[in-house]
């Protein structure tokens, strides 16, 4: 029933979104705030000057307590984003069940990791998660490539997971590779103002936080879907 799908997505999405927020406030947002210091010029990374290059010391920004309204909004939007992920995933789960593929909470974890690959990992292979202040290609171009990559990756994984025989597997691999063969939009110059260490840690940590949150999302979504099913 559609109500089961909606309720499962809502519960799983809000729970995973809140856990994602916790992970982000612990691991990701402090780096983001530090990156903003370089974006705004409060700190500089080897800026050119007349005598010696200027370098600010490393260290966290003023802290999370500075702007509670901003961080509350971030928490709310994390929940919204994960509810959106959950709605799409439970729809795909229900479709797979109709096609005869059994679902369980354990399998839900694999579903969640596949969702992570679709929404974060594959797009990040072309467009790395950006610290604030990163200068990059036109946002609409990046969004278009992102969408193309997500759709192509989802199709590829579905062909590999549910297809029978060599042909679907080969097509699946092609679908996974296609966005990266065509390539993400990039500028022809590097403009980064933040230290590469900071940008790299931001990218890896945001992916790690998303992977953990997606695994939980898949588990919870499948668990709620199974639980909502009337006993036969």
């Amino acid at each position: 029933m559609i109500r089961n799908l909606l309720a499962s997505a809502l519960f799983a999405g809000v729970a995973a979104g809140l856990v994602a927020s916790l992970l982000q406030f612990w691991l990701v947002i402090p780096l983001l705030l530090e990156g903003e210091l370089y974006e705004s010029g409060v700190r500089v990374h080897f800026a050119a000057s007349l005598d010696a290059p200027v370098q600010s010391p490393a260290g966290p920004a003023a802290g999370l307590s500075q702007d509670p309204a901003r961080h509350l909004l971030t928490t709310a939007f994390s929940a919204i984003a994960y509810v959106a992920f959950a709605l799409i995933m439970v729809a795909a789960m229900a479709f797979a069940e109709r096609a005869g593929h059994r679902l369980s909470a354990r399998r839900g974890i694999v579903w969640g990791l596949a969702g992570f690959a679709v929404m974060q990992l594959a797009p990040a292979a072309g467009l790395p998660p950006e610290l604030p202040g990163t200068i990059a290609a036109e946002v609409s171009l990046r969004q278009a490539w992102w969408l193309f990559t997500a759709l192509s990756t989802a199709s590829g994984l579905a062909l590999i997971a549910f297809g029978n025989g060599l042909l679907p597997g080969a097509l699946g691999i092609m679908a996974l590779a296609l966005p990266h063969v065509s390539g993400a939009p990039h500028l022809d110059t590097y403009y980064g103002v933040a230290p590469p260490e900071l940008a790299a840690l931001f990218a890896t940590r945001s992916l790690a936080a998303a992977a953990a949150s997606w695994a939980l999302l898949g588990f919870l979504a499948a668990w709620f879907m199974q639980r909502a099913r009337p006993a036969g």
Binding site: M1, A84, P128
Partner: protein, 56 residues
Amino acid sequence: MTTTTFSGTRSETGLAGIAAVALAGFALLAAAGFAQATVIHDSAHDTRHSIAFPCH
């Protein structure tokens, strides 16, 4: 002889329902992750960066 009825199909959602749920997800994702209207962009800014979406 006992017959067991598999009732799994009874609770299955129809294709139209599945499509509606997926559409709701895409719409929500477009708002939270993609919309460039200033208010939405600014509110969702940190989330978009944190979940590796193209932001601005």
